[in-house]
């Protein structure tokens, strides 16, 4: 572990360790190279997951971050090794105005579905992705649900899809808290 | 029982088969029509066998051979139709106008 950490520190600048997890912050232009390196040189062959965080001060649901952040997407991948407990998360920040990043499918085949999920949930474009399509959401679904600006009270926007509504539509829009708990 | 009605029916079956061969466009249907013709022949053999009632049962034996050969014929015939279909994507005999492709 120690040895691994020092090797990581030699190769990457922006690293920190939090609860036995090594976080590497990279620039989005370094995204693919970093992963290639981690896979080849650090033997992190197990692709655990990829996801994103929508950093935004103006949130429609939940609580806003305690301190103000610059609106951006943070993309995180988690890599590990199946035979030891080396666990690395790689994160990068991309602009919300032009959310795109190179796909990792070439390196980790398993990134395919995770990227598709991030694409539909956040609207992040993964370049060179073989088939960047929706994964979960039905045809014609509008919007990216995991954005902080996306209203959770979706039933006010769209009617219940079935023939019979399980319960009546709310007469007038309720406040976020009362609907969401 | 008088044999003539049976014979006429066999003749009718035969000519229906001919009609089918001439009119049908689908190769499988043509093969079906050929079966009708063979069936007409079978009926004739059997009726003559019953008429003659010979000790050799030649009518029946010939019918069995015809059925055998018909089975082989259908097997090969359909195999050819399938091959044509695979090459031409159709079972329409009007399209099969080339000897070689």
């Amino acid at each position: 572990m120690e040895e691994f950490l020092s090797k990581i520190n030699e190769n990457f600048i922006n690293t920190d360790v939090e609860f036995e997890t090594i976080n590497i912050k990279v620039d989005s232009s370094q995204w693919v190279e970093t992963h290639q390196k981690l896979k080849d040189e650090f033997d992190l062959k197990f692709f655990s997951w990829l996801s994103a965080i929508d950093w935004d001060n103006e949130v429609s649901i939940g609580e806003a971050p305690k301190e103000s952040v610059s609106p951006s997407f943070e993309i995180i991948t988690c890599l590990s090794n199946v035979s030891n407990n080396n666990l690395v998360t790689v994160s990068t920040t991309i602009s919300k105005l032009e959310p795109k990043i190179t796909s990792l499918v070439e390196i980790y085949a398993g990134a395919n579905w995770h990227e598709r999920e991030a694409y539909e949930m956040f609207g992040i474009n993964f370049e060179n992705h073989p088939n960047l399509e929706k994964l979960y959401l039905p045809d014609g679904y509008e919007g990216n649900p995991m954005l902080k600006s996306f209203e959770l009270i979706s039933r006010e926007v769209k009617p219940w899809p079935g023939e019979v509504d399980v319960e009546g539509m709310p007469e007038e829009p309720e406040s976020d808290e009362s609907v969401d708990g | 029982m008088i044999v003539q009605p049976v014979l006429v029916t066999a003749a009718a079956l035969f000519s229906l088969g001919i009609y089918g061969i001439l009119v049908r466009r689908n190769a499988v249907m043509v093969l079906l029509s050929i079966e009708l013709i063979l069936n007409a022949v079978n009926i004739n053999f059997i009726i003559f066998d019953s008429m003659l009632a010979d000790s050799l049962m030649q009518g029946q034996i010939f019918t069995i051979f015809i059925i055998t050969i018909a089975a082989a014929e259908v097997g090969i015939g359909l195999a050819i139709v399938l091959m044509l279909f695979r090459n031409r994507q159709t079972a329409n005999i009007n399209e099969f106008d080339l000897m070689k492709w």
């Binding site: 692709f47 655990s48 996801s51 666990l87 980790y108 085949a109 088939n131 969401d180 | -």
Partner: protein, 398 residues
Amino acid sequence: MVNTLDPQNFNNFSEASVSVEIETEDMTLNIGPQHPSTHGVLRLVAKVDGEKVYDVKPVLGYMHRGYEKLAEVRSYPQITTLVNRIDWVAGFSNEIPFIAGAERLMEIEVPERAKHIRLILTEMARISSHFVFNGAYALEVGALTPIFYAMEDRERVLDLIESVTGGRFHPNFNRIGGVKPAAGSGPTTKKDIQDLPAGFYRDTKVAMQKVIEAADQFQNLIGGNEVFKKRTKNVGILTAETAEAFGVSGPILRASGVKSDLRTLTDYLPYDQFEYDIPVGENGDCYDRWDVRVKEMVESAKIVLQAIDSMPSGPLQAKVPKVIKVPKGRTYVRAENPKGEMGYYIVSDGGLGPYRLKVRTASFSNISILPLLLEGALLPDLIAIMGSLDFVLGDVDR
């Protein structure tokens, strides 16, 4: 930002989900969402030529419940209820990594006894999940009887879980800092013995013995069956390399010959105190995947028996504040669940609930291998391979 209504994308998608007539030689077969062996509502759009499958496209989302979104507006104790329902076959296991993550961020030291109880119940959840797999898989390859045996044997384990937690599928038993006092205990003054119901140790010992017997029975009844072997051996071979690249974990990864178990690699529960084997397969085919799970049941039973014997006494709960607020920070806690690696990436901004909760579920990654495994398989193999991955739709769609 790309609008998802972009005509380009939209067209691609509709082609994928085959809402257009396809003028090809081949038959496009929809397997699912309402199909007897898709474990719920998975849909596979398979292109088949006769019996041969040469392209498969899984269509997910029929059970997408948006847990990650919901978690953003709920407090930590409320989320425990949510995560229960992710992999409902092993509900208890889902709570562990989440609770452990929150505890880690809050820097709470959980009492040993609570950890042991968690461990026992997790292993029981694993056993019950593998029981379900055993029965369902046999059903999928056409044997109709084993599922009744499996369900009957699972009942004993579920009864035990119920006697402790009060719930069979969704126990909601973990609390940040420990576990809830057991359901059947009732009000009593002796705090340290009220946690587990009376006779729990005895019943568990009997039940675990039965589990070991049942696993043995499965080895004979299913594993020894020539037809079953013919159906599963050398079918759907998955190499270790591909498995790792796709993030396939758990018994499926181990069946491919990788001796990897998060129970030994990480310390979310005190597994290092017990002795157990990690069963590993050889070929990575369907039979191995089945075999590994059956053997795992025995190992889990052994762990439970050991844990019962070495159960420490002490409190069930660490001291926690009345209002649970998790300090700012982020952590990823992963656990070896019955289906594979399950983890929660918690990003806390110091509030009542997480700012972002990423749920990494095992089945999601596990079934992303399906298109690869199914290429060129025969239709019956498709079912056999799909079944051997042992996924739960709640675990896929979240």
